[in-house]
């Protein structure tokens, strides 16, 4: 009995020892990773990489932490908007929150990868050349909106809400799109008027014509204006020309020719509106 107890005691001691060893190994591994991270951060700080990279990437927020906070708030606002239109259940809200959080995590993983690649480039000239290539796709994701188009959030939304809720949400989303379309068309007209003032009658006619023809680009962001301008450039001459006098028409022709070369670029970057987008 005594021998058996001693054996159990030894086995327990061994088990405890092994557990402690595993915990220590895990702990030192984590510590090692943290130290490595700290060391890397310290090196980056000395070189000015971390903050510099963040400032370039997050032009609006200046720092990754601020960008993350803003995106988390945007997610809340996005869910609140859908809730206003659809009266979501708690379970639906939770699922949307989960999907949106997934988009945020996925985005910051991409940022982290880009940062690592950036830090790995030791040659200053090479770094200068490649920085934009690393940062630009991430900035474009931010510009297009993290929860739009091909995001987890948007894809899940269709599955999470009922058909009736989807219809109600689409009505709200269409209203917002229509607002944006009108704003962009009026901006194109205002920018044209910087070179060539129009009478009120001409302005109203041009806006009406463009409203009947121009579709929103597939993605918002810095190229949206070009996409609208190009559609203006592609509006058939027989519809556009009667709105202007001969001198104004010369300016219109110059403007139209400036934007015609952009079509390929806008199509390649999935910005050019597809036929079905506005239908």
């Amino acid at each position: 009995m005594k021998i058996a107890n001693q054996r159990i005691g030894r086995q327990l001691f061994l088990l405890l020892f092994l557990l402690l060893l595993a915990a220590f190994a895990l702990c030192s591994q984590t510590q090692g990773r943290q130290e490595k991270k700290k060391k890397k951060a310290a090196q980056a700080a000395v070189l000015g990489i971390g903050p510099q990279f963040d400032q370039w990437l997050f032009t609006q927020d200046r720092a990754a932490s601020a960008a993350r906070r803003r995106l988390e708030s945007t997610l809340k606002l996005q869910i609140a908007e859908i809730d206003r239109a659809c009266q979501l259940t708690d379970a639906q809200k939770k699922n949307l929150q989960l999907a949106g959080t997934g988009d945020i995590v996925r985005f910051f993983d991409r940022c982290e990868d880009a940062r690592e690649k950036f830090e790995a480039i030791k040659d200053q000239q090479q770094r200068a050349q490649q920085t934009w290539q690393l940062i630009e796709p991430l900035q474009r994701t931010l510009e297009n909106g993290l929860f739009a188009g091909d995001s987890l959030f948007y894809k899940s939304l269709h599955r999470i809400v009922t058909g009736d809720q989807w219809t109600r949400y689409q009505a709200v989303a269409n209203e917002e799109r229509e607002f944006r379309r009108r704003a962009m068309i009026e901006l194109v007209v205002a920018s044209l008027e910087e070179e060539m003032p129009l009478s009120d009658k001409q302005r109203q006619r041009l806006i009406t014509l463009l409203l009947s023809r121009v579709k929103l680009p597939r993605k918002p962001g810095s190229y949206a204006y070009y996409a609208i301008m190009l559609q203006f450039a592609k509006t058939p001459e027989e519809e556009l020309k009667p709105l202007f006098d001969s001198m104004q028409w010369k300016v219109v022709v110059r403007n139209r020719s400036q934007f015609k070369g952009l079509e390929q670029f806008l199509k390649q970057n999935n910005i050019w509106p597809e036929k079905e987008d506005a239908e």
């Binding site: 708030s73 809340k76 209203e175 009108r182 070179e195 302005r203 202007f244 001969s246 104004q248």
Partner: protein, 205 residues
């Protein structure tokens, strides 16, 4: 000058008097905005130029013609304000996910608290990430708590794009009296053009 001709339809004599006056006042008119641009970076040239031209129009043309010109300038100004306000609202909307009601309210706030520097359209055309300085107190009043939090965190900067040389290079050029083809609203109105034919109005006295 072309816009003035289009709207007021002056006679050749009236046009030449206004053109002569514009020639002398042009330099003086441009000096103030140029100095302002040097000091602040704001390059809003339209108003000083149209103000100076309006003075000449009032001096030379009939009260009806001057009123027509003044009214068109007002309408043009309103259209610009509306366009800028709509686009600023769309820009804010992207970050704050506004409701339709909030969009309407914000548009009104911006038009009521208009700032001349917002007329630099490049900020809206090329998708700048920054917001101009906007009436924070009024805007905050229409926002929810979460929206306020996001709004406070957004960078609002005084960003000026300066002169848009591209646009200055492609302007209408100097307006000259063209006997053969003066500007006419009929040109811009196919229905009227059909009735009146292409007869120019430059020779009207």
């Amino acid at each position: 000058m072309h816009f003035m001709r289009l709207v007021c339809q002056p006679t050749k004599e009236q046009f030449e008097r206004i053109a002569a006056e514009a020639e002398t006042t042009h330099k003086a008119t441009m000096r103030a905005p140029a100095m302002r641009f040097m000091a602040t970076g704001v390059s809003v040239l339209r108003k000083p130029i149209t103000d100076a031209l309006l003075k000449s129009v009032r001096k030379v043309l009939s009260p009806e013609q001057a009123e027509r010109y003044h009214k068109e300038l007002e309408l043009r100004n309103q259209a610009l304000k509306r366009s800028v306000a709509l686009n600023l609202v769309a820009k804010v909307d992207k970050f704050l996910i506004l409701s339709p009601q909030q969009r309407r309210k914000l548009s009104k706030i911006l038009q009521d608290h208009w700032q001349e520097s917002w007329s630099e359209l490049q900020m809206l055309m090329y998708g700048s990430q920054y917001f101009p300085q906007m009436p924070d107190a009024e805007i905050s009043r229409i926002l929810t708590d979460v929206q306020k939090e996001v709004w406070r965190g957004l960078t609002k900067a005084i960003v000026h794009f300066g002169f848009d040389l591209n646009r200055l290079n492609t302007d209408l050029g100097d307006e000259v009296w063209d006997e053969g083809r003066p500007p006419s609203p009929a040109d811009a109105d196919p229905a009227t053009a059909k009735k009146k034919g292409r007869a120019g109005s430059g020779e009207r006295k």
